[in-house]
Amino acid sequence: MSTATQESHEAPPAGRYHPVLPITTGKFAMWLFLATEIMFFTGLIGSYVVLRFGAKHWPTPYNFIVKEKVADKVVTWTAVGEPEPDKTGHLVFADDQGQKHDLAPQQIEKQFERGHEILAKKETPLNLPLTAFNTFLLICSSVTMVLALASIQKNELGWTRKVPGFPWLGFRGYMLLTILIGAGFLSIQVKEYRALIFEDEFTPSTSIFASCFYVMTGCHGAHVTGGVLYNLGLFLAAIKNGWNSSHAQTIELAGLYWHFVDLVWIILFTVVYLI
């Protein structure tokens, strides 16, 4: 009789399936999928990096607005159009009457050094505090997801733990929290898009930066939407069918996807919003 081993490595009978890696097919499939997702997002971020660092000016002026008070009258200067490659630093501004002014960097400085009160200026339409809060939300949802997995592994299947105290909630509680936080993230992203498009007129056709911004954050948002629906499906199935620790791996796979989405956002937040 052969000696017992952790995983048998003996040759399988001819023509029989034998797993190549010591993991279940589900986990193998999920990691393979995530490997393709790494390439997908690298393609997007890589293109953005090339466009950005290859550009002479960034962010490309899209909606640079300065409101100044001139003799009790508010004058709005809006940067329009793309900079021309041979005119380094030039920006074209439209004033209140729609008249265009092609200003060199030194002229731009002088234009707003006339002692007029500056009421508002926007160099970027992106709402950094709001997005930082959204990043925090997504990190929170990763924690609740991993706690949901830990809960089901320990057969803590209810809304709260059998024993009061940390970590307080059971599998159902943490799954629901993950779904709600994920939905919260999406709601804030919708609010951000709404403000960008309808208030700042920052649309995908505004500039190459705007295109990149919507493609990257939009693709990520689509992944978050998929993740929320995936988690919701599992949550309902778990309640309906009374899942226990034997279903932990199903939750683990969903968790892998969800954490990956969080991981991508961490990079996107830095690349798109901070740098």
């Binding site: 890589g46 660092f53 000016h57």
Partner: protein, 229 residues
């Protein structure tokens, strides 16, 4: 409960081996002969796939799989194939585990313990997850703080990207449990990571061709002037 005894924990008689082999050859979707405790807390056999936490061994050409936690409880079990006392032909159990009236409860307790303690031994605990959460929160705050400090552009980018990669690594290592996974993770994840880096480097000439770093963004000049600087 750790099983330190050597030798196969469960013995299949030649008749059982022959039958199990036949079944496995007919069923192309499964590759192990699993011995388990079913939902009624009774001994059972099944054709299955290898699952995490399994111990498998070969017996007479049959891949036998048992959940690691059940080995001490099932050790000494003998599985035969033939008619039982009522004349019904099938797999029959014998040996000390089969005679144990409390086998089902003992097995459930062992599985629960493995699910709770056993997992923690190789993975993070809830406390560890909260520490990682705190670290991610602080690193995000540090990133936001960096945007308020006037740093040279290149240094600014390096610092922020380092922080982002570190945060991503924390998520991957602890939340996705990569820190605790076996060497298979390298097979699956190293190729796309290499390709990702290659892609960025392959695109570098396009960046170099234009050769402009964003240190002369006109908007910045304008914002500074508006502040009265």
């Amino acid at each position: 409960m750790t099983d330190t005894t050597t030798g196969d924990p469960i013995t299949l008689t030649p008749a059982a081996q022959q039958k199990a082999k036949e079944y496995l050859e007919q069923d192309k979707t499964h590759d192990v002969f699993r011995v388990k405790i079913d939902y009624n807390k009774k001994l059972a056999i099944d054709l299955d796939k290898i699952r995490p936490g399994d111990r498998t061994y070969q017996q007479g050409g049959v891949n036998v799989a048992i959940t690691e936690a059940l080995i001490p409880i099932l050790r000494g079990l003998i599985i035969d194939f033939g008619p039982n006392s009522e004349g019904k032909v099938g797999f029959q159990f014998a040996g000390p585990p089969h005679a144990d009236p409390d086998l089902g409860n003992k097995a459930q307790a062992a599985l629960d313990k493995a699910a709770a303690g056993g997992h923690e031994a190789g993975h993070s605990t809830e406390g560890d997850y909260m520490k990682i959460f705190f670290a991610l929160f602080m690193l995000t705050a540090a990133e936001l703080g960096c945007t308020q400090i006037p740093l040279p552009k290149l240094l600014f980018i390096l610092v922020l990207m380092s922080l982002a990669v570190f945060k991503a690594a924390l998520v991957g290592m602890f939340f996705m449990h990569l820190k605790f996974e076996g060497r298979w993770k390298h097979i699956l994840l190293v190729p796309p990571c290499i390709l990702a880096v290659v892609l960025i480097f392959a695109l570098m000439p396009d960046v170099g061709r234009t050769g402009a770093w964003p240190h002369d963004v006109p908007g910045r000049l304008m914002a500074d002037s508006a502040d009265g600087k």
